[in-house]
């Protein structure tokens, strides 16, 4: 089975632009979470979706939004990009609603650079 896939792998955007990042979870996994990892830091939780509904949100501004589709894939959208949004964005999937009571399976991430 394929693991968690994210696209694109790298992206360069200009300040003020909008970006959409995509994630396909492992087949059968209904929970998708998004994390932001700034260079030199650990990942920070942004969102969790389960069965197409938002189940948790981290401490990020409203410029960040996400959604989950009927096939359980997910998009992370960031509006009005700032230089500080430059980071590695990681998607993780899990078969369970709780999401974190078992291991999470991470994709390889999307490296976003805002210039």
């Amino acid at each position: 089975d394929a693991g968690v896939t994210q696209s694109p792998t790298h992206l360069i955007k200009t300040r003020g632009q909008h970006v959409t990042l995509r994630c396909s979870p492992i087949s059968g996994h209904k929970s998708v979470s998004w994390y932001q990892q700034v260079l030199g830091q650990g990942p920070q939780f942004i969102f969790q979706y389960y069965e197409k509904e938002e189940r948790g949100r981290g401490n990020f501004p409203d410029r960040f939004s996400a959604r989950q589709f009927p096939n359980y894939s997910s998009e992370l959208n960031v509006n009005a990009l700032l230089l500080g949004d430059s980071a590695l964005y990681l998607c993780a999937s899990s078969p369970f609603r709780g999401g974190v009571n078992t291991e999470a399976f991470f994709g390889q991430g999307t490296r976003l650079t805002v210039v």
């Binding site: 968690v4 979470s33 994390y35 990892q37 260079l39 030199g40 830091q41 650990g42 990942p43 920070q44 939780f45 969790q48 389960y50 189940r55 948790g56 981290g58 401490n59 590695l88 990681l90 993780a92 709780g98 999401g99 974190v100 009571n101 078992t102 291991e103 999470a104 399976f105 991470f106 994709g107 390889q108 991430g109 490296r111």
Partner: protein, 112 residues
């Protein structure tokens, strides 16, 4: 905000030696997990230890958990050059069962 703090921030050892990394956290947890990350790419799950467990083994990995001290340690025995990576502890629970809270990580370098 970061929940866990790994110690040390960086560790350099020779192949064959053991590597020990520590993690401290602040709130109550359901479980604590260790992940590995190579060159800033995806995270790979290594081991999960539940709050009612004290020690767990997986191959060359040994994890301990002391909930009274809110701390955990990861021991990698007989290290190899391929173990070179960043290692993160992540906590789950404390009222939030939908997210992992990561520390800043330990960069392990294993020299051949």
């Amino acid at each position: 905000s970061q929940q866990g703090e790994e110690d040390p921030q960086a560790l350099s050892i020779q192949e064959g030696e053991n590597a020990t990394m520590n993690c401290s956290y602040k709130t109550s947890i359901n479980n604590l997990q260790w992940y590995r990350q190579n060159s800033g790419r995806g995270l790979v799950h290594l081991i999960l230890i539940r709050s009612n467990e004290r020690e767990k083994h997986s191959g060359r990995l040994r994890v301990t958990l002391d909930t009274s001290k809110k701390s955990s340690s990861l021991l990698i025995t007989a290290s190899r050059a391929a173990d070179t990576a960043s290692y993160f502890c992540a906590t789950a629970g404390g009222g939030s069962n939908y997210k992992l809270t990561f520390g800043k990580g330990t960069l392990l370098t294993v020299n051949p």
